[in-house]
Symmetry: C2
Amino acid sequence: MQVQNQEEKENKDLLSGSKLTIADIAEELGVSKTTVSRAISGKGRIGKDTVQRVIECIEKYNYKPSSIAKGLANSKTYNIGVAFPADANLSSTPFFQVCLLGVCEVAAAMDYDVVVTTVKETDINLLKRIVDHNKVDGMILTRNFTNDIATEYLKQKGIPFVLVGSSEDDTVVQVDNNHREACEKLVSLLLADGVGRIALIAGDKKHIVNRSRCEGYYNALKNRGVDIEQDMVFSDCDSPVFIEQAVRYLLKKQTECIVCTDDVICAKVLSLLREEGYSVPGDMKVASFYDSVHLETNNPPVTAIGIDVEELGNVAGKRLIEIINGDISTHKTILDYEIHLRRSTQ
Amino acid sequence: MQVQNQEEKENKDLLSGSKLTIADIAEELGVSKTTVSRAISGKGRIGKDTVQRVIECIEKYNYKPSSIAKGLANSKTYNIGVAFPADANLSSTPFFQVCLLGVCEVAAAMDYDVVVTTVKETDINLLKRIVDHNKVDGMILTRNFTNDIATEYLKQKGIPFVLVGSSEDDTVVQVDNNHREACEKLVSLLLADGVGRIALIAGDKKHIVNRSRCEGYYNALKNRGVDIEQDMVFSDCDSPVFIEQAVRYLLKKQTECIVCTDDVICAKVLSLLREEGYSVPGDMKVASFYDSVHLETNNPPVTAIGIDVEELGNVAGKRLIEIINGDISTHKTILDYEIHLRRSTQ
DNA sequence: CTGAAAGCGCTTACAG
DNA sequence: CTGAAAGCGCTTACAG
């Protein structure tokens, strides 16, 4: 008899319509909702054995508190937002995807969920939407432009947010790698190795990250007392057409090595060189940033700055939730990078 | 005086602490909350001019209803979930990223937001998390295995969900391209063009989508009366190492054309052929699926089945919200594909 | 240590 | 056409 009874109840949560509430648990246990709530949250004075009983009951019936109701009561959503660039050439870089993964992981571990929204350089309506409707307790931005309107908006709103990337604005909490330093070291290493005539093909300069990498390149040359030849630096060189022009020009200029500010550019450069019958590193050395699997498994393996994008998402999520919880957070977190010297520059 | 007063109020929504509620609007207008609610939702009888006044007031103060409170009252969350594979070689394919983008767009347009979660082939705890905690009104799955535990779980829960992909289970709502047919047509076209000795390099067979593509390949050969040579078909050939073995073997076998079931495989194949000094299409023809930008801008451009992944996300999102709203939905939506015959097979 | 009651910001049946 | 009141499922100050 007792067994049957138990089975019946255990089936309760399997029935689609009948979601269990805190009241059901309270009733079952013959205590008040207050008590159940306290046992779950651990807040307020409450008897040890009572907690035990409540916990057991909750597990028995597989009760899950409604986080939406909890949110209403606390004026919180237990959601964090992640803004995904809808205008980037997303289709070619997995950066945002992997970063999002990192955020999801850490969020779940801290009992938060992740709401995604998209932003464009000149259109942040969808971002405003989730913020204005109170769908999230905070936001993560995954890139930064000069004069970034998303950053501006969130600052003005006063909502907690974290930037994956760098900003000159000290008031925004940032998580990033030191791209300037990384590029500087990479180029310095190449120079020290005797590689000369190093060119740079860089992406959109409106992205802070590309600026930083360029800076690093210039610094390395300066520090080594190498003359900077402006025509060996291609900025805003994102499209396949521009990259092709750049490569053709550089081939004529007796360039010895091309440093690319990201893997998408690098993939195109490698592809062009092969088409034209130039060998890497024999005829041209190549190095890149970010180090997607693609570069590592390339033949020859490509020298690159490796950054842990998932970790970037992890830390950004953690920082944001800290801020939401009122903990003070470091204003800028710099994560490590690795320089992988591989055959493409040897 | 009046102007100043107005400015003061307009500032209200800028102040961080003081979120406007429906009560504020009601008070301001001297009506009841009921009336304001009705004016916004358009439900129930209500005076035209009253609606007008309410709308104006709402806009003036930039009032945004809290969707979390709305959700509690309606037992809805106004969120849909998207499950992101955390174990896929995400870093190499932008498929999920672009699909997610498509879902986000359509969701926002239908006043829903998107919560992401990750799933692994053998671990759907994070999926369970958002479902059990009532964070979403429905789910979108972005891939399907044979014996998919995520599908199984959602079915058993009875929560609305849509699969981007195909399933033999007629009770699940599906959005997909006809991969079998697409592959069949592609291979048939090649055969009709006089291309012979067509090999296939296919990814993980546990993915339904890879099975379908393989089927299409076999069908095309059968229909044309071409003998199928089993050693020209490589299944479960996902890793760079396996792909390399396959390509080397096929080169010895006088293969004329390699069809790849996805772009990641294709990129690796192209790269290998170049390294070994084989020219495409001269020494070997190559065709692929999905048609990322990478293939189109390749030199030579690569023949491929083009599918609109963003559209896939769009339709999946729309279908899901329809189901949530109680509209009956078609059980299977088949989207178009395009066959791009390009130089790599000519 | 425990509970009754008010409140979070909406919606909606019921009564006018 | 409009409003008072109850309710969605939680939390928490207040009282015991």
